[in-house]
């Protein structure tokens, strides 16, 4: 088991190398060089050259890559071209805000999904099953940023019961656990949770249904086990598949919150990324993408290892 975890971790090295190449390439995919994009077109050539030298853009690409990789490995993500502050600080504070929202959405979506999916699989009446199927279909089909707007229209504009945007009251400096901040979280959390809700409900429903049709369930029923105990056995068997899907969805929440954060002006990584794109602040774009991808990789690794631990059928040694 430990050997497997170690092997997966080692396997992650070449992937991480590839990711770093891709993230580095992001800057150089951009038309023109990164400096010309931010200086006025009539800037004197010396200034432009000086800036290029300062940011290291005058060196050949492989050299630039190795320098960037070296610096990045020490935890230094560079300096924001827009604000002049350290990218690590900017991404760090935004990442915290994104995580809070993601955790809330994950908890909400997964809890609801397990309840809905299981009850649909168990449902004797077709109506319950149909209803849950419909909910999950809507979950995977709805454009979540549009749902965010609709939620704002209903609850903020028409009813006026919840704040339309921001992380907290106007003088808020950061997220704290209080009523006002929680109220600001409600709409973004719901909007963010629709996709994972749809996907996970679907998976839970089909996996539990499949497990229920397996012969060991018939055997348990035949030996007279109580239904609630059987449910435990069923869920245990359905868990690995569901966990894998949940892990992927949790990761996608982090990356997918960009649109929701933009609608709600939630100061997270997505919001940061979006504004960096429009200011053509490439170090921020690079840094945010790298941090999010790194987090996503570690999350996938964790899910993979947990899945191996939960599922005795997978023997990886």
């Amino acid at each position: 088991m430990l050997l497997y975890a170690l092997r997966r971790l080692i396997y992650l090295v070449p992937v991480a190398f590839g990711v770093s190449l891709l993230v580095f390439a992001l800057v150089h995919l951009a038309p023109g060089d990164p400096i010309s994009a931010i200086v006025p077109p009539d800037a004197p050539k010396e200034v432009v050259d000086k800036l290029k030298e300062y940011y290291g853009f005058d060196k050949p690409l492989p050299v630039q890559y190795l320098r960037w990789l070296g610096v990045t490995l020490t935890g230094d993500l560079g300096t924001s071209i827009g604000t002049g502050r350290s990218v690590a600080t900017e991404v760090g504070s935004a990442f915290g805000n994104t995580i809070i929202l993601a955790i809330a959405a994950t908890l909400f979506a997964f809890t609801l999904a397990v309840i809905l999916g299981t009850s649909a699989a168990y449902a004797k009446s077709r109506i319950v099953d149909r209803l849950v199927t419909l909910i999950s279909l809507i979950g995977v089909s709805v454009p979540h940023f549009w749902l965010a707007i609709v939620l704002v229209i209903i609850f903020a504009v028409e009813l006026g019961v919840l704040p339309p945007m921001g992380i907290g009251p106007e003088n808020s400096t950061g997220w704290t656990f209080d009523r006002a901040h929680l109220a600001h979280m409600v709409l973004p959390t719901i909007a963010l949770s629709v996709i994972p809700l749809g996907v996970v409900t679907r998976t839970v429903r089909s996996t539990v249904k499949e497990t229920l049709s397996m012969e060991f369930v018939t055997a348990l029923q035949a030996k007279g086990m109580r239904d609630s105990r059987i449910l435990l056995h069923v869920l245990k068997n359905a868990a690995p598949t569901c966990l894998a899907v949940m892990g992927l969805q949790a990761g996608n929440l982090i990356g997918g919150s960009i649109l929701i954060e933009t609608v709600f002006a939630w100061p997270g990584t997505g919001f940061l990324l979006n504004s960096a794109i429009f200011r053509r602040d490439l170090p921020i774009l690079q840094g945010t993408t790298l941090v999010l991808a790194g987090f996503f990789m570690l999350l996938n690794l964790t899910v993979d290892i947990i899945q191996t631990m939960v599922d005795p059928r997978i023997k990886r040694g």
Binding site: L3, L6, R7, I10, Y11
Partner: protein, 344 residues
């Protein structure tokens, strides 16, 4: 008219149709921290065999002994790590010999799983026409050949050509598989557990058909099976395998009438007796075959052999002549050091 004709005999009846020398196949097993190859499964180890023209060579052994690997090696579906093959005098896959594709024109195979070995998306006619078409037979001739093949295996062309595999019974599917193996007019057919999955009654029909086809088309068979009775019924010579090695090889009467190797004896006495007075009271062989990843030193059978002695662990017994057959056992080698060794 028909352009894809049977290959003519070249070396005369005395020359073996297929001669395989020192065939070896080890499959790597990934392991360790970096997933490097640290262990190998010794599926087939230095196997030498010859198949005479017109004979049926039976290959028997427990599951996992490397029978199917031998089949796939002989038709080059897997490449041997070592060893040479000579087909009717022509070395295979060597500068002055014939190519693997030319080998496959003359050697064909019938697989065990009649369902998995037929493409579910193709009709029977399409499946049968595939090989001839791939070898450049014109469409009209291929169509003619499909009809001919179906009739040969006892399926009415008018009824079966346009059907799909899932519409056929297991026996019918296996007949189609045999027809496909015949499609290129090969000289040697490797039957890898070809009838094992069939019901007994169907099995008998297919076996009889195989016997008839052999005479009619002048074929040579390598018949691989775990069913000792079927092998006895069909074979001229029998090869007994244990953990990737030949333990005994000889004429069917000698192997069944006077088995020399303890393993062959154990296998044969494991057959249910037809005579109620000759009940088998004790299991003639204990335990499972050892792991082929790490086979025992010396004689591979020694861990389950009731006569095993020190020499069996130290030395690997050679395949030596012992009467009518060849046996790989220290007890049959004079002066081998085994207490029961034959006198010089």
């Amino acid at each position: 008219m028909d352009t894809l004709l049977p290959i003519q005999d070249r070396g005369g009846p005395a020359q073996p149709l297929l001669l395989a020398t020192g065939l070896r196949k080890h499959f790597p097993v990934a392991g360790g921290l970096l997933g490097r190859t640290t262990k190998v499964v010794r599926a087939v180890d230095d196997l030498t065999l010859s198949v005479a023209k017109g004979e049926t060579l039976g290959v028997v052994g427990e599951s996992g002994c490397g029978k199917s690997t031998v089949a796939r090696l002989l038709i080059r579906l897997i490449k041997p790590d070592k060893g040479t093959m000579v087909l009717d005098g022509d070395p295979v896959d060597e500068p002055h010999g014939i190519t693997v594709n030319e080998l496959r024109r003359q050697v064909q195979m019938v697989f065990q799983d009649s369902y998995a070995s037929l493409n579910p998306r193709l009709t029977i006619a399409e499946t049968l026409a595939f090989a001839p078409r791939a070898h450049g037979l014109p469409a009209a001739e291929a169509r003619e050949r499909v009809r001919d093949l179906l009739s040969k295996v006892g399926l009415d062309p008018a009824n079966y050509a346009t059907r799909y595999p899932h519409e056929l019974s297991g026996g019918q599917r296996q007949r189609v598989n045999i027809a496909r193996a015949l499609a290129l007019r090969p000289r040697l057919i490797i039957l890898d557990e070809a009838v094992s999955a069939l019901d007994k009654s169907v099995e008998a029909q297919v076996l009889n058909m195989l016997v008839d086809l052999k005479t009619e088309l002048d074929l040579t068979y390598v018949f691989i099976s775990h069913d000792l009775n079927v092998v006895q019924y069909l074979s001229d010579r029998v090869l007994v395998m244990y953990l990737g090695k030949i333990v005994e090889l000889g004429p069917v009467e000698a192997i069944y009438g006077n088995p020399q190797h303890p393993y062959t004896r154990a296998l044969l006495s494991a057959r249910p007796s037809m005579d109620p007075r000759k009940r088998t009271h004790e299991a003639p062989i204990q335990g499972d075959p050892p792991n082929p990843i790490d086979p025992p030193s010396g004689c591979r059978f020694r861990t389950r052999c009731p006569f095993a002695e020190d020499v069996c662990a130290r030395l690997e017994p050679p395949l030596a002549d012992a009467g009518a057959q060849a046996v790989a056992c220290h007890m049959r080698v004079a002066g081998s050091g085994h207490s029961k060794a034959v006198a010089a």
